[in-house]
Symmetry: C2
Subunit: 474 residues, 2 copies
């Protein structure tokens, strides 16, 4: 066949998180070199274990005959004095009952397509979770019909952007640096990426004046700004927004008639402060809000299962049609039939932790606290290494799963891409160069996920410090 | 917020399989009426059980600690004379070993993102499956690097169409009737749908002259035809293509420099003849071929798990770039991170059935044969009912999971949509009107999935016959 033309937007699109650096890493791995994949927030690839409770339930929901068998086994055990099994060898009644409840509520188990939006009982559980989290009652209560289950939050973000971008003049505001899913999707759907710059030296704080600058500069160039993406806690910066910053974004969106896409997938990854949701600050203001959450992050890290949801508040009407945005979100979901059921079940479990006092509660809490504590400790270890590196500064508090240090000193004529490649070659550490996320011209950064086990960090960090000080002073 | 503009293609797009008829059915269900959902190939929603072997392995892969526990339990059982358990209560060593093998080969289990293309071991197993199925050796062997795991085949189809449609003049040929995923996606990506008409009265046979007619008519209107979709076995028609029809499509594609998108998700749903893959007829001819397969259909029906793959042969170069189409497929996959792992594991199991003589083999074969036999018997029951209906004809052999009868007699001024709505209201049967798939102007059809249990069919079919003869003669 002759060479063909293809969608020019896919040709243009860039996605550094899985770009040349991880591709080089994969090559090194095939050659037998040790690689530490910190380019991506993928905890279970770095040894984090799944939560026992989640997997016990999921496993039984996938193989329901094991619920009855477990009951039979327990009965035999209880009737057999001197049994070599102990009670701890059995799955608790609580887990058996939750698994049965999930199967009953699903109606069809995991093997059938669900409603396009996802299982109704999962959407109800998500609504209950939002109401608990944000203290909503009355009119503010989440509506399960405004919730869509998706194959991870990436899927949700793509759906919203695909809808909002109606033509090549439509723009979406994104923070710089940003998670490249947003830049890639905006390119993909043929829209305009409108950059705004949180203030790095003030811990990546959001500033109304900067939002207005970005908006009016774009408007002057004929861009029709439709929405603003906020990632909170930040990816790649880890920055956590306070209530006043969130209120400023909402005021700004209200004034300019923008939709807000709040990427809140790291809401459980706040180590020192408190997560505040956009919905809780929005309350009754009529600004369209798409809030995204995911099973991939937090303390559960179930990335591979691709589960997530989007909650929509104040869905707007579509000009020139009798339709609401919800109708189109439903149609869009229908063409994909439904998101995967294992991801849906894990999303249910994420928003329905075991009740206090129940059999799995203690272990669940212990696993959760250990993972979160270790994440924070690992971030602190890496920050301590930065202090020993010549010209490295890391602003903002620790949130999400990433640090995004600034490299103030690099060999003349080189940038962060060359630095990350050299770091990979010398230490096996896979990071992503700051230019993959966008950064102020003239600055250089990298993103590192603080996920490797502590002993591995203790081993590699001194080698990084040594490499760094040699490399930047060469 | 004011009404907003949205992507006009999403506004235009239609998807009847989950359109007004199933929406009305959902409403009736909420009112407590009994509904028989035959609008969609969703076997487990109609009582089909998942295959024991698949779920045993999946369940253990989701909860690996249960592998060791099972071994311990077995040991206790064997050492305890008079145990109330029987050997059949335990999971076979073979299943335990397959589960361990899957975990080892995956490296990271189900909780981590996989490679963008999917687990390497699953792609290798798919390549081996294709080689076995099509008798490939040497240069014809499938290349695991040309295989992409996807969230069901719908995901794969959307990816390919999104790439191939480079601008509003680009066209894709689709059979009429067709599975509306294709029409919806072509609308979505802003391309032109170019219809070709298999010959209903010759069992939906493909005809070279008709392909040429469709192509040249489109070309005359300035459409740049890029590819041709073939669904084999057919959806919604069930028609199964013979080798000569496939060879004709390949000749046609070669002559006009087209890519072939071969939707082969129903390859196990051939009840009387034999499935012939496009790859096996293509052999060394340099025509780009995208072959899609899925865990949702066949005798397994694992729709909810959203697993599937696409194998690419002869990926073309991209004009004006040093890139190959594979590079873009990879970039596209990267932005979604990876397809869900439960779907990937089930895809592995689909292409790696238990070996002959192994412990799970007999039950697996029994379950498989029963499901396929019953599907065929149910199709025959429905066909027999058609024979009693005034002016209903159903052409072609029985394949896939659908029958697509022609309704030659309808009340004046009504069409198949009104018929299907009335059928739903009277009998609870949810079908899809032929216009949802496209049909020759002036003809009327419906699609019914032959999935309901036999006793349910035996109860509803006479009511359908009675309704039909009354309705069309009113």
């Amino acid at each position: 066949m002759h060479p063909i033309t293809v969608n020019p937007n896919i040709l243009k699109m860039e996605y550094a998180v899985r770009g040349p650096i991880p591709q080089r890493a994969a090559e090194m791995k095939r050659q037998g070199r040790e690689i530490i994949p910190c380019n991506i927030g993928n905890p279970q690839a770095l040894g984090q274990s799944p939560l026992t409770y989640y997997r016990q339930v999921l496993s039984l929901v996938e193989e329901p005959s094991k619920i009855e068998r477990e009951r039979k086994l327990k009965e035999i055990f209880e009737e057999t004095p001197g049994s070599p099994l102990r009670e701890a060898d059995f799955i608790s009644d609580y887990v058996l009952e939750v698994s049965e409840k999930v199967l009953t509520l699903s109606g069809t188990g995991t093997g059938a397509y669900t409603e396009s939006k996802g299982f109704a009982f999962v959407r109800q559980a998500i609504a209950d979770f939002i109401n608990r989290r944000d203290g909503f009652s009355g009119k503010l209560r989440a509506n399960p019909e405004h919730i869509f289950l998706t194959d991870g939050a990436s899927d949700a973000a793509k759906r919203v952007l695909n809808l909002l971008i109606a033509g090549p003049e439509d723009g979406i505001m994104v923070p710089i640096p940003q998670y490249p899913l947003y830049s890639a999707s905006i390119t993909m759907f043929g829209g305009v990426q409108v950059d705004y710059h949180p203030d790095e030296e003030r811990g990546w704080a959001l500033d109304r004046a900067e939002l207005e600058r970005a908006y009016s500069e774009a408007a002057r160039q004929g861009v029709n700004v439709k929405g603003i993406v906020v990632i909170n806690p930040g990816n790649p910066t880890g920055a956590v927004l306070g209530e006043s910053s969130i209120a400023e974004v909402i005021d700004f969106a209200a004034q300019h008639d923008l939709a807000i896409i709040a990427d809140e997938v790291y809401q459980d990854n706040v180590y020192t402060g408190k997560f505040i949701s956009f919905a809780s600050v929005l309350r009754e203001r009529p600004v369209p809000l798409f809030s995204l959450h995911s099973i991939s992050k937090g303390f559960f890290g179930e990335c591979g299962h691709r589960g997530g949801y989007m909650e929509v508040r104040n869905p707007p009407q579509i000009a020139g049609s009798g339709l609401n945005l919800l109708d189109l979100l439903l149609k869009q979901a229908s063409v994909g039939l439904c998101s995967n059921t294992a991801g849906q079940i894990l999303t249910y479990l994420m928003v329905s932790p075991p009740e206090e006092g129940s059999a799995p509660y203690t272990l669940f809490q212990k696993e959760k606290q250990r993972i979160l504590r270790e994440l924070y400790e690992k971030a602190q270890m890496i920050r301590a290494a930065f202090d020993q590196m010549d010209g490295v500064e890391c602003f903002g508090e620790t949130g999400a799963m990433y640090l995004f240090p600034r490299l103030n000193k690099l060999p003349a004529g080189t940038g962060d891409f060359e630095y990350c490649m050299a770091l990979l070659d010398e230490t096996g550490l896979v990071t992503v160069n700051g230019s993959g996320f966008g950064q102020k011209p003239g600055t250089h950064h990298l993103r590192i996920a603080f996920l490797p086990p502590k002993d591995l960090l203790a081993e590699v960090l001194p080698r990084w410090v040594e490499f760094h000080n040699r490399y930047v002073n060469a």
